[in-house]
């Protein structure tokens, strides 16, 4: 279990290797990488500014990760979330989960991403030709979160 909030980029292959280092009991590793898209709602995006709440962000990510580990049989997990100014194509977020079985690894990764979307104190501002604007929270993301309560 490990969480990083950083301005720097990350290396998915290296993070995955670190998670599995010296182990032969892992059956499945799932990774999710989120990237800055060059378009949003039909408008070209020049860059994205990610603001966060230092102190609370780390706490929130650790809590989210602990919840996933309590709920699924995970052998390892990793969350990296960047902040600052990012260009289209840049990596924003990485979630890794390792488990003996594929279903647990997939579900835990989806759970972590659903929580990060709506419960981690990050705010995105997209730069367009018409100026910068804050990304609205999507109702679909809030709905995605609810499915984890029902189970």
């Amino acid at each position: 279990m490990s969480v990083s909030v950083q301005a720097e980029d990350f290396d998915v292959g290296a993070e995955m290797a670190a998670l599995a280092e010296g182990r032969t009991d892992i059956g499945a590793i799932v990774s999710f990488t989120g990237l800055v898209r060059d378009m949003a709602k039909g408008a070209a995006i020049s860059d994205m500014e990610l603001e966060h709440y230092p102190g609370m962000t780390e706490k929130a990510l650790k809590e989210i990760e602990a919840q996933a580990n309590a709920r699924w049989d995970l052998q390892g997990s990793r969350i990296i979330h960047r902040y600052g100014r990012l260009a289209p194509g840049a990596r924003i977020v990485l979630v890794l989960t390792a488990s003996p079985h594929r279903q647990a690894a997939f579900e835990a990764a989806e759970f972590l991403m659903d929580y990060l979307k709506s419960r981690a104190p990050f705010w995105k501002k997209e730069g367009t030709a018409g100026g910068g604007h804050w990304v609205d929270a999507r109702e679909a993301d809030e709905d995605a979160l609810k499915r984890w309560d029902q189970e």
Binding site: G34, E51, Y53, K117, F122, W123, K124, A137
Partner: protein, 81 residues
């Protein structure tokens, strides 16, 4: 107490944080007090459906008590991931 603002709340109010002396009992009381100060606060807090609050870095609600709280943060719904 320290009051923090993020994203468009920060932009509308014009500062990222400030020290506030208050006798407000709940978060809602504090919001009412801030709104009474100046139009920029009135504007920032005009749509409370779009405002979230954290007390000492834990997500909380508008009717929560401020008793013993040292850091209050206001921000829009989060858009991480």
């Amino acid at each position: 107490m320290q009051v923090l603002y993020f994203a468009w709340l920060r932009e509308r109010i014009g500062i990222p944080r400030e020290e506030v002396e208050t006798s407000a009992v709940t978060v809602a009381d504090l919001v009412a007090e801030l709104r009474g100060r100046e139009p920029r606060y009135e504007l920032a807090f005009s749509d409370m459906k779009s405002v979230r609050v954290a007390l000492d870095q834990e997500l909380s609600s508008l009717d929560a008590s401020l008793d013993g709280v040292r850091e209050v943060a206001f921000f829009p719904p989060m858009t991480g991931g």
